[in-house]
Structure formats: C-alpha cells, structure tokens
C-alpha cells in the first residue's frame, strides 16, 4: 500500500514539475518534447486510476498524434521565434494574464476540493443499463449507446479540422497531394521498418477496435494506430500520399459519419428516437458503426498529419 503511494506521489510530482517546465520553457521545440513526455506520464497515471481506455487515448491521440502535429508546427515556426521573443507584451498585460490564469487554476482547485463527499456518479446507472447494449466495456457502452450524440459530434468535428488544414494551401495546390510529411533520405533501416511494422500495426489496430466492445480499446485508439502505420509507409517513401481531390478518398473520409447518422436516423422509426438502437440489434449496429468509423477516423487523422496540399510555401513575413 505505502509502496504504491510512493510511486503515485512520485508520478504526480513528476507530472507537476514537467507541466511547469513546459509552460516556463521558451523554445517551442523543447516545450513540445516536454509535452510528449508529460502525456506519456499522464497515460501511466490514468492506468494507475484504472481508466485504461483514457490512458490509451491519451497515449495514442493526446500524446502521439498531437505531439507530432505540434512538432511540425514548432519546426515551421522556428524561423520567426526569436523575432517573437522581442515583441513580448508589456508588464501590465503579462500581470493580467498571470492573474486570469491563477483565477482559473484556483477555480478548478475549488471545484475539485468542494465536491460532495460521495462524489456524484453515474457509474451504477451505466452498469445497470449496460446489458441491453450487448457490449461488455462500459466506456464503449456510454460512447456508442448512452451518449452516442457526443461520439457522433466528436467524429464529425474531425472533418472541419481537416478542411481547416487543407484551406491554408495556396490556390494552385488545392486538391493536390499533401506535402507536410518529412521525407528523410532513403535508408535501408527506415524501409525495413516501414515494411515489417505495418502488418503488426494493422493487426494491433483492428484488435483494439474489436476488443473495444468488451475490454479497454476502441475506434479512436485503433484508428490512431492504423493512421500511424499509413504515415510510416508515406514517410519511408514506399507509397505516395493520395491526391486530396480523389473521389474514393473523400468518400472514405465521410462514410463513417454518414453510416453513423444513417443508423441513428433509422432509429427514429425503428426504435423511437434519433440514435436509438432497435431491441436486440444494439451490439451488431454498434460494431458496424465502430468498424466504418475506424476507417474514416484513420484516414482523417493520417491526412491531418500529412498536412495541406503540397506547393504551399511558408508564409513570408511582410515587414
């Protein structure tokens, strides 16, 4: 018991220190590296809290994918960073920012500390209502049955994000191949990795989705692994990224959300409510939605990393 307490306390202190360091450090690149380490430690903490689903999402999306996106942004912004340091805001503004941030931190601390003694929980309600859905993992049950509308919006919101990334392309490049991925010089080691790893990675991705029905795992984690395998193949240069105007690609991007909305709409007359599943069909419908959504999410995440269509130039400073 005390041993576990020591480990937990060390983890908490480490995460706290790392968080402070990420905020305090000036260079964007170091901050991103710190952020990735912070995310991995957070994943371990989620495991300690027995929230394995959250831990996997944190490791795959919160750290892996977001970390890569931030690394790309830091690399692009590096040339302008020193100029930005010289234009730091005045003392008054900085004090104001500090005070507002402190107020938010104190507010959050107050909310956590003032929770009623038995914290409000819907866990027993979820446990009671899990059997009709046919899935064994309560997280998946909540995400795809009890709070399906949240999950639907969550998967749809990826598409505007992707369109946002595409829209920074210059006009002539629109619809072309994405061009933000690094292309290191061909090396036998990278080629070998990109040939050997994807079969295992795809298996792990499918396993995460399939397992998500009854054990920790799910479409977002699985899709992230699939996207990572795709990106690995693209970076190694074994395949070219598809042109973004390709019709098949666009269908793949939206098919997940469309199937989800279609099944949800059919629930209006089959089960009496939008996103309700007819009795006895909940499990197969949930699996179908998860399977198609996984493909769409994987494609979307991969293209988010692949960036806007090529031919885009870094924004010239006009000064």
């Amino acid at each position: 018991m005390t041993n576990a307490l020591i480990v937990d306390a060390a983890l908490a202190l480490l995460v706290l220190g790392l968080a402070l360091w990420v905020i305090a450090t000036r260079a964007a690149y170091s901050a991103v590296v710190g952020f990735v380490a912070y995310g991995l430690l957070m994943a371990i903490i989620w495991v300690r809290l027995a929230a394995v689903d959250v831990a996997m999402t944190e490791a795959a999306l919160g750290t892996g994918l977001t970390g890569l996106l931030l690394l790309g942004a830091a690399a692009r912004l590096a040339p302008y960073e020193t100029a930005e340091f010289d234009r730091r805001p005045g003392r008054g503004l900085r004090v104001l920012i500090g005070l507002l941030c402190a107020a938010i931190a104190l507010g959050l601390a107050a909310v956590v500390l003032l929770l009623p003694a038995p914290a409000p929980s819907l866990a027993s309600l979820v446990a009671d209502n899990l059997p009709p859905t046919g899935v064994g993992n309560p997280v998946t049950g909540v995400l795809l049955a009890h709070r399906a509308i949240d999950t639907l919006l969550e998967s749809v919101v990826l598409l505007p994000a992707l369109i946002g990334v595409w829209s920074v392309a210059v006009d002539p490049a629109w619809g072309g191949r994405p061009g933000s991925l690094p292309r290191p010089p061909a090396s036998s080691a990278l080629t070998l990795l990109a040939q050997v790893l994807p079969p295992f990675g795809i298996l792990v991705g499918i396993h995460l989705v399939w397992n998500g029905a009854d054990d920790p795992g799910g479409k977002f984690q699985g899709a992230t692994v699939l996207a990572a395998m795709w990106i690995l193949v693209l970076i190694a240069g074994l395949r070219e990224a598809p042109a973004l105007s390709e019709r098949r690609l666009r269908v793949l991007l939206v098919v997940g959300a469309l199937v989800f909305i279609g099944i949800g709409a059919s629930g209006v007359w089959r089960a009496g409510a939008f996103l309700a599943y007819p009795e006895g069909y909940a499990k197969p419908l949930i699996l179908a939605i998860e399977a198609v959504l996984t493909l769409s999410i994987a494609a979307t995440l991969g293209l988010l990393l692949a960036g806007p269509p090529a031919g885009d130039r870094p924004i010239r400073k006009t000064s």
Partner: protein, 110 residues
C-alpha cells in the same frame, strides 16, 4: 520450483533496471549524439529485454508471455531504426581523417 522462478524474476528485473539507469546516465553525460544513442539503445535492448525475461515466469498463460515478447521485439525494431535515423542525421565523419573530438562542441560535463 516457484522460489527459483521468483529469484530469477527479481534478479533479471533488477539487472534490467540497472541497465535503464546506466542508459539514462549515459544519455545525460556522454559527449555527443552517437555515444548518447549507444547508451540509450543499450537501455532499450538489454534493459527492456531483461525486464521482459524477468516477468516471463510471472505471467498467467502463454498468450501473455507472447505479448510480452512481442513488446520487446517491437521495441527492438523501432528502437534500432530510430537509432539509425538519428545517427544518420548527425554529421558523417570523413573516413580518411582520424576522428578527432573538438573540445567544447559536446555537451558540458557538469
């Protein structure tokens, strides 16, 4: 049989932890990228390998043992590839010239 296996676990996991410690110290103290990579990959290969070896007697079934071994093999594969890529990024020394370490270019030792 059981105590012997438990002792194997304790010894192998402790050895693995020592390799991780040594790898971390090397990463922090070695002077240049190549030697730091050397320290880092030692921790990954041998440290993780010893930890996995030590945990093998404690797993519930052959499937968990396979999963542990897969973790080690995949870490080996990705670790060695990343090591190669990072090493390739550092300046390639001229093979005709004797390798000389310019003082002051490496990390500070304090």
């Amino acid at each position: 049989m059981r105590p012997a296996l438990d002792i194997l676990t304790i010894v192998a996991v402790s050895l693995g932890a020592i390799f991780f410690l040594a790898g971390t110290v090397g990463l922090l103290r070695f002077p240049d990228t190549l030697t730091r990579l050397h320290a880092l990959t030692k921790a990954d290969n041998l440290g993780l390998g010893l930890v996995v070896l030590g945990l093998l007697p404690q797993v519930s079934g052959p499937l968990s043992a396979l999963a542990l071994l897969a973790v080690w093999l995949l870490a080996l594969l990705s670790g060695s590839t990343v090591g190669q890529l990072l090493a390739g990024k550092t300046a390639v020394p001229d093979p005709d010239r004797a390798p000389t370490l310019t003082p002051g270019t490496g990390a500070s030792h304090d």
